[in-house]
Symmetry: C2
Subunit: 422 residues, 2 copies
């Protein structure tokens, strides 16, 4: 109990410092923010040795605590990884500053002129697991968009994160920005997460980055808005009027370009009109690539080597070389399947038919809806947003890849000449 | 417990029906939505007698249960009130449809073309108190923006709300839209509110409309995003370079145009350089209008008739003929006061100085920031948004007046020609 109070007090104090930093940061010019980013990138490269040593401590502790190899893998970085982090920060420095943009200005009959100005969100809390590069990516994106951050990484990465935080702090200092712009929660106490989620006066928005358990906890407990990413159960639907060469290339790319990513295809929907023409070829190609196909009864009647898909397969995010395959009757059935089993992340139709392409674009309620393109394009860099802090599956504020703009909002501004309301 | 389960089941069933309706609604054309709105307006006028009788039942029950006069006042409507509701619905029908707008389309080096399409949020839950006109306003705005709604009004307005709901249902039916587009929670059980707040799978966004207790409850308990309005502690700051005629007119208008509204000024900040020039005149004018002034020590040294402001006055939303007055030293002190005691709603500077106007616009972190205009302009109609569902004091999604656009979001669309990712 005493401990819980201490943690809460620590988070409150960090929140107050963050709020002061956010106010200062919302006023500095673009050049100061960019200077800080470039200084942070230099610090990272300069302290490569120290960073790798800190990372080693985490890796040793992780192995001693029996972390599995996948987690060890996510935790580890080397000199090339540090170079990549620094390069990412430099790219963020090169992006246009979203803050201060004035749009939608109109004169109203009352005489006032109304517009909108893009502004930072304020203080962003980020709760994440294992990957230490999130510390750098998140801090850099929030800094460029004028926000202060409170970062709470996994306890297994605490040494790496503190070493990275030192680089950030020195970079901020070098550019004359408040060092409280980016704060790392120093304790590995679980209570620190709860304290963050229950402090809406200190933190304006929470972004969880990690497994489903973490995201569910944050959604349930947070008393402030959450920008989150849940599952990526993405579909490709091959329409009767699909160009079958495009269809096959897109299906193979969407599944096999990378497996462990949220924008990989997990279910292939094939219209019954083209199923016989496209499935045998595709099955052969997937077999060569060691992808297991799990088919519905009709798919298996065409390609009997597929294993049997159960109901659970339709909602599964495999994140691996497995693909569910269903034969469907027309666009309505395809959309019905996507709305029933999908996760509103990214879905693509392959067709040359204008009307059905237009209907798919409008009627599929996903963050990214595509025609004749691989689901793998659902990505901040591919969309031209620059780096992304994540891909949101929420319905409000930001859907899909969240870049700098998603870390800002718009306030109204009114320019008047003494107008009063009648 | 049994009851709680029943209520939860009812809300779940309503949620599923709402989701089906939302999907249907996201696909109907603008004309069908407008037809439904016009039919609802006609129904309201046609059933004026029935509506007034239902309202009488609520008023009688309210008086029997000892509701205070202010609440009875909010609850009551007459034929003119019904005409006004119908007129509001017709105005919403006349607004442009925000859904389907495609913006920001760009070709990317990969060959894909990326853009954004404006889409409804889905199912919107609205929890509100007393005023039955919210039933009509909210239903009409959500319908026009392509959203299904689940409305939960106060138990004291249950007969009025059900009579209004019948008009909405008949209007929807007349236009061939699903009647589940707008559903009213029939039970006055408190558990229904909890069941709504705990059903993120059924409801995408919650909007509370009511007192601070309700808004606090909803913010704490909701497991989905909330668009909410907290306090309106609005400021006018009179700068040393203010045109004093504009300053006086704006101060009087911002305080006295209407008292019980969130965009009324609650604290007047006067720069010490002009305090002697402006305060005596203003005090005289406010005295004529029976507004009580509560001043800081320096304000009282100029106008001794002011009562003494305590620390609590600076954060107070009076919603009545009371005004706190503070003399401050310069723009930084004014902004510091606003950021410390304000509610990030609406704040205005009166000045002819270009640089300080620009700084105020940028540095004050409120949903509406104004130069030389009355805070009373912070309003959806005045801003040209058409009707508003409320004024958000949140930092994400929508700040300030929330109209049709605030009830939508944007998904990404990708138009390709068979592109795959390298």
């Amino acid at each position: 109990m005493a401990n819980e109070n201490n943690v809460t007090e620590t988070i409150q104090a960090m929140g107050q410092a963050a709020r002061r930093a956010a106010r200062a940061l919302s006023r500095v010019d673009t050049n100061a923010k960019n200077s800080a980013l470039l200084a942070i990138a230099d610090q990272l490269v300069e302290h490569t040795g120290t960073l790798i040593e800190a990372n080693k401590k985490d890796l040793e502790a992780g192995r001693a605590n029996g972390l599995d190899e996948a987690m060890i893998d996510r935790l580890a970085f080397d000199a090339a990884g540090i170079q990549k982090m620094a390069e990412g920060v430099r790219q963020i420095a090169a992006l246009p500053d979203p803050v201060g943009e004035i749009t939608d200005t109109v004169f109203r009959p009352s005489g006032i002129q109304v517009g909108r100005m893009r502004v930072p969100l304020g203080v962003i809390g980020i709760i994440y697991e294992s990957r230490p590069n999130v510390t750098i990516d998140a801090a850099a994106l929030c800094l460029k968009s004028g926000n202060a951050t409170i970062l709470r990484g996994g306890s297994e990465a605490i040494h790496s994160n503190q070493a990275l935080a030192a680089c950030i702090r020195d970079g901020l200092e070098a550019a004359g920005l408040p060092t409280e712009t980016v704060q790392i929660v120093g304790t590995t106490d679980r209570e620190a997460v709860t304290a963050m989620l229950h402090s809406p006066e200190a933190i304006d928005v929470i972004i969880p980055r990690g497994g489903k358990g973490l995201v569910a906890l944050v959604s349930r407990e947070a008393r402030m808005p959450v920008i989150k990413h849940l599952d990526g159960v993405c579909h490709v639907y091959i329409d009767p009027d699909a160009d079958l060469d495009k269809a096959k290339a897109i299906a193979v790319n969407a599944k096999t370009h990378r497996y462990g990513v949220c924008n990989a295809m997990e279910t292939l929907l094939v219209d019954q009109a083209v199923a016989e023409a496209v499935l045998p070829d595709l099955a052969k190609r997937f077999d060569e690539l060691d992808v297991e196909l799990r088919g519905c009864e009709r798919a298996r009647s065409i390609v009997p080597s597929m294993t049997v898909a159960t109901e659970a397969d339709w909602g599964e995010e495999y994140l691996g070389p497995i693909l569910a395959v269903a034969v469907v009757d027309g666009l309505d059935a395809a959309i019905e399947h996507i709305e029933t089993f999908g996760s509103h992340h990214t879905d693509s139709i392959v067709t040359e038919n204008y009307t059905r392409a237009r209907r798919f674009l409008r009627e599929v309620d996903s963050a990214s809806v595509m025609v004749n393109a691989s689901t793998r394009f659902a990505d901040g860099m591919e969309y031209g947003l620059g780096a992304e802090i994540g891909i949101s599956t929420d319905k409000i504020h930001a859907r899909g890849p969240v870049g700098l703009e998603g870390l800002t909002s718009q306030k109204f501004i009114v320019l008047g000449n003494g107008e009063t309301r009648h």
